[in-house]
């Protein structure tokens, strides 16, 4: 090579630094990528063309049906004339799908409740805003009380709205948020308990987790709504929604516990030892050193559980609560709108997908945000 001087047979010395050159043109860019990934040999080329064809026969009719030839606005099924999707059905019943049977005059209360929540969550999510600790404490301890009085009413001059009138997407969100917020701390405690050295605590947690993981959520909900009233005196009237919520939290906290336990096991022993050697007691060691690291690693698992929980809330329809899915189904059996179930279910699927996908995206963002360069070593 140029710039290299041959000093003797076995030693080489160079005093010229080679410049950085751009990579060969056909290895980068769109064409380079396509050549490497789609058309690298005959089999791959055939597979690529086949995939393009399949996409074509699936996507084009779907887009035609759902968007191009669809009817959007109208008052009755007579407005659906063009042969595509009849979104008029969704359009007409949209309020009901959102609010259930919540009285129309009171629906601002639901709007306000979720508006407040969105503001607080935005505050926590946007990195620049200050006082995150205070806001999180408010979200966790004060906001639920406000939300309870806003939604349920019965005091502060607000009319009482019984929970059997609640429904639609707002009910789905209430169930999911309560489930998510309550299941995480219970799950953490159960996971710590399961790894505890105290035999009674440990066996309690093991039995609890294995019991709840071993039965289907539907059974839990049936038990909560049908069996529980048989065991408590008649005067004690648990609200059906409350019973479903408790059932979901008990059930999901067992799953959460196992996710958290997996994260705890991944923390090296040295972290515990360093924390102990510094004089931190058990709770400080867990709260300041172990759990922050473990929770960070568990973000994908936790969000996975949250997403499963979110979708599982639709099971409450079997105990007569009208969540988003149930209320759309109820709308489908309306004689005026028979035959539009595809639109109905597509709408439900889209709503669920939107929320689940946002959670998934946010978790990816969090993973990147929390990455502090360890694990690379």
């Amino acid at each position: 090579m140029t710039g290299e001087t041959l000093v003797s047979d076995s030693s080489k010395v160079t005093d010229k630094m080679l410049p950085d050159l751009p990579p060969p043109a056909n290895s980068t860019g769109v064409i380079g990528w396509m050549r490497a990934n789609l058309f690298s040999n005959i089999t791959n080329t055939i597979m690529t063309l086949l995939a393009i064809y399949i996409l074509y026969i699936l996507v084009v009719p779907s887009v035609n049906w759902a968007l191009l030839t669809a009817d959007w606005i109208g008052d009755s099924r007579d407005a659906c004339t063009s042969g595509g999707a009849c979104w008029v059905f969704i359009y007409n019943r949209f309020d009901q799908f959102m609010y259930g049977f919540y009285p129309e005059a009171e629906r601002w209360r639901i709007d306000l409740t979720f508006f407040l929540l969105v503001i607080q969550v935005a505050w926590l999510v946007i990195p620049k805003l200050p006082r995150k600790g205070l806001v999180s404490a408010f979200v966790l301890f004060v906001y639920p009380i406000i939300a309870y009085y806003l939604l349920y009413g019965g005091s502060f001059g607000l009319n009482l709205v019984e929970t059997h009138k609640w429904g639609g997407l707002s009910l789905t969100l209430i169930l999911a948020i309560v489930g998510i917020v309550a299941a995480l701390p219970f799950g953490v405690l159960l996971a710590l308990g399961r790894r505890s050295e105290m035999p009674i605590v440990k066996s309690f947690c093991v039995v609890y987790i294995e019991f709840w993981r071993g039965i289907p959520l539907i059974t839990v909900l049936f038990m909560a709504s049908v069996m529980l009233p048989l065991f408590v005196p008649e005067e004690v009237d648990f609200d059906k929604l409350l019973r479903a919520m408790i059932g979901i939290v008990l059930f999901q906290s067992a799953y959460m516990a196992e996710v958290v336990r997996g994260g705890l096991q991944a923390i090296p022993k040295g972290q515990y030892e360093a924390a102990q050697a510094l004089g931190l007691n058990y709770w400080k060691m867990m709260g300041l050193v172990v759990l922050p690291q473990a929770l960070k690693m568990m973000i994908p698992g936790i969000v996975n559980t949250f997403i499963a929980l979110f979708k599982d809330t639709s099971l409450v329809l079997i105990i007569g609560l009208f969540d988003l899915l149930a209320i759309v189904q109820a709308g489908l059996s309306d004689p005026d709108w028979l035959g539009y179930s595809v639109e109905g279910y597509a709408f439900v699927a889209l709503m669920f997908w939107m929320f689940c996908f946002s959670m998934s995206k946010y978790s990816q963002h969090l993973e990147k945000h929390f990455h502090t360069g360890h694990g690379s070593r």
Binding site: E273, Q276, A277, L278, G279, L288, F370, H374, G375
Partner: protein, 253 residues
Amino acid sequence: MSTTREIEDKLMVEMRGVNKWYGDFHVLKDVNLQVRKGERIVICGPSGSGKSTTIRCLNHLEEHQQGDIVVDGTTLNNDLKNIETIRREVGMVFQHFNLFPHLTVLENCALAPIWVRKTPRKEAEELAMKFLRRVKIEEQALKYPGQLSGGQQQRVAIARSLCMNPQVMLFDEPTSALDPEMIKEVLDVMVELADEGMTMLCVTHEMGFAKTVADRVIFMDKGQIIEENEPHEFFNNPQSERTQAFLSQILNH
């Protein structure tokens, strides 16, 4: 060797007839050890000889089953209060640093003063900066441990321990996990610390460090203390055959 620094008569660490088993395996056999305030002890020996276990018993990272351990007047038993008292007074540096990867260097150092000693955050951070300066790494204070080299991490680990103002420092093979070119920067910090009169117990294979810094060298094998002597005698005139064999293996290669 001993400089102007004085060793007081006060006993800092005392182990009397300490025995420990892992299941059926007898790891520590009748270990007796007395360390006075300001003394610097180096413990060496082949791997598996119980040297790490010995110092890990001192702050109850390992539990001993027989015998008495007294650290700075506090007896180590199963009383959680005593364990916490001792851990506050005893600093420890680990082979693999064990810094907290989710916290910055500064937060690593300020954590225990804030949460164990209840020092106000601002004061604790000033304290942390003071010790980071002392181990010559203050410019890295806002980085995360994962961004530092091994030698830098170990110096931070030493600073983190010092922030608790310990009476005794335990070093568990502090240079064994380091690349060769980083060993010196850590040893320099340890020598400096020794010169300031810190009571130190070091498990190490750095015989140069033992020769220049230690007041006493302890040789352990198979869970027993085999030989204990001041460094000059220990290296030039080892009494036991096992010590001689060990020294010939590590010194002549």
